[in-house]
Symmetry: C2
Subunit: 384 residues, 2 copies
Amino acid sequence: MKKSRLILSLLLAFASTLASAQSENPPPVKEDFKPSVLNQPGKEYPQVNSQGYVRFRIEAPDAQKVHVSLGLGGRGGTALTKGADGIWEGTTEGPLDEGFHYYHLNVDGGTFNDPGTLNFYGSVRWESGIEIPAADQDIYALKDVPHGKVEQILFPSKSTQTSRRAFVYTPPGYGKDRSKKYPVLYLQHGWGEDETAWSNQGHANLIMDNLIAAGKTQPFLIVMTYGMTNEVKFGQLSSFDITPFQTVLLDELIPYVDANYLTQADPAHRAMAGLSMGGMETRTITLANPGVFSYVGLLSGGSISMEDLEKSPDFKKNVKLLFVSYGSRELDNPRRGPWGDPKENTAAVTAAGLKTHFYVSPNTAHEFQSWRRSLYVMAPMLFK
Amino acid sequence: MKKSRLILSLLLAFASTLASAQSENPPPVKEDFKPSVLNQPGKEYPQVNSQGYVRFRIEAPDAQKVHVSLGLGGRGGTALTKGADGIWEGTTEGPLDEGFHYYHLNVDGGTFNDPGTLNFYGSVRWESGIEIPAADQDIYALKDVPHGKVEQILFPSKSTQTSRRAFVYTPPGYGKDRSKKYPVLYLQHGWGEDETAWSNQGHANLIMDNLIAAGKTQPFLIVMTYGMTNEVKFGQLSSFDITPFQTVLLDELIPYVDANYLTQADPAHRAMAGLSMGGMETRTITLANPGVFSYVGLLSGGSISMEDLEKSPDFKKNVKLLFVSYGSRELDNPRRGPWGDPKENTAAVTAAGLKTHFYVSPNTAHEFQSWRRSLYVMAPMLFK
């Protein structure tokens, strides 16, 4: 397990390249700010302008200092200034990357959420979230198309002696014809997130609804559960061990889903993918259990090397597609991830006969916009 | 609509009797505090002791003042004191009622959530939540029984020109036999809450799972959607109008559910209930549309008077059960709700031939413990 610990530490170091790598001379700020789409009902702030700048307003008239964790990379976030009305206000020093960003406030030395925004589970806490409208936001927009469901299930888990929660995306019309069976993608969140991330932050359900409505993918189920089964706490990463989660996934969740959903319950119709730590889990579990999944997706979560294929010869035999993706800003980073250069690794295993697809999300970092796009690109390639 | 405005104002005044009406001389505090079950993963505070006292600890070393909104009624919450370690700490002046309570912090004049707890939508914002373990918590405990699902659906709404969200509880085994059809309860949240309340705060799914496992109720579907369709903002209650929600419910949601779920799609197998403002909505809609629902539940949301029956003669003809409930502390309150004394009203309509059940939740106020218990008592009486 020592290798896993090292790898996870590297992934997390990698994850610190956030939101960020913008130019040193940001453009002048346009005064066309609008409330973020992730604000709580009726809340005017935070606001985002057409360039991707964010303006915060926080009421705390007697505070000494209010600081926002979100800002340009390496510059320590955004300091707010108290106005005559007692409201703290500030604008990011430059535009942020398109898509979703986590953040929080520091008020007089304490960590709090922005009362203006919805909360999203990340960094092992419910964080504030903000959305910079993306040029390609259409792929996860709520449109007037048939919508699938996101079903919360509680499945029995003997290994952890409780009922565990998972969410299951079922496509429009699922279940009306009980003779129609569906393939299944098991899709994992990243470190510090949970089973809510792929639908809340990732809009996985809307991405699927839109792809299906456009005839771009066949319908399939997506199963999302909690991947930090050993209850890793912040600052206790060294305790990470894949075994508890692997047991829940392979011995408990998959049998439950196959028994309770209309699935094509065979390896040819089963995929696993994950982002960041979820990619590491996907990589570890699919290499160690090469007969279980036929499609593998590593989203900002490493790659498969020739050494991996040599150690797990059945992987190449069984896997019909290895999908590897990164945000472009991650690949720009000199710390290229724990398993060597992912593009070179993927080229090597492709040359060795593994079918692969390598995708780079333009101008995004180790954040959800990279993973929304990755799902959008990957989904049509699965179960062919 | 003027009457509705008045009624809603009264309901909200009524709602201010929270958590609270305890004795003037609280017992000495026992030092057996444990983390609240609603804390975020790994968070040690807030804590609850065996008597129902709550202890808060908030890190904000440079703050001037930290105050918690939760405390004994009418005493203005709980003031925290800064310790030598820079942590603000305080304990409620007395034990709180059993069950779920909303709260928030005031830090240097600003409203923030406690970073230790999960968030729950109430008061038109995501609030902190705490749970005082109840003697009867078994009724909504997560047990090793077959579990139903809570399905998020997005249904088309022409009247509001969008896809709207609802949650549908489906009982264990739902859908396996497509010839088996189910009755449906439409269940509404209160003012300032949303469609997440009945499963998050109310544990409606676990209450049903446990009742079904014990053979105490027949299985049925519960549909929960957003009842403040006119987007009422805090401080703008005077704009409340039932029409937009009634249109969504009767003309859009019910037809969608009947078309997409295995329902017994007739009035004899359709119930409507709601808490507080949701009770007011239930009352208004079922009186105005007496042929649509056969079971009506008003949970801390008023009652049906003889005058109502005279104005809507078909109500008595069609309704097979009127369920009316309150928390005992609400009935102790001299402001007995907007429609006269609910117990007297219910006795009068019972004498006039309407089948009713009047339930009082012991030692609870206008809060979720009253409504969890009400659902537990009401469910077995429906669809008989």
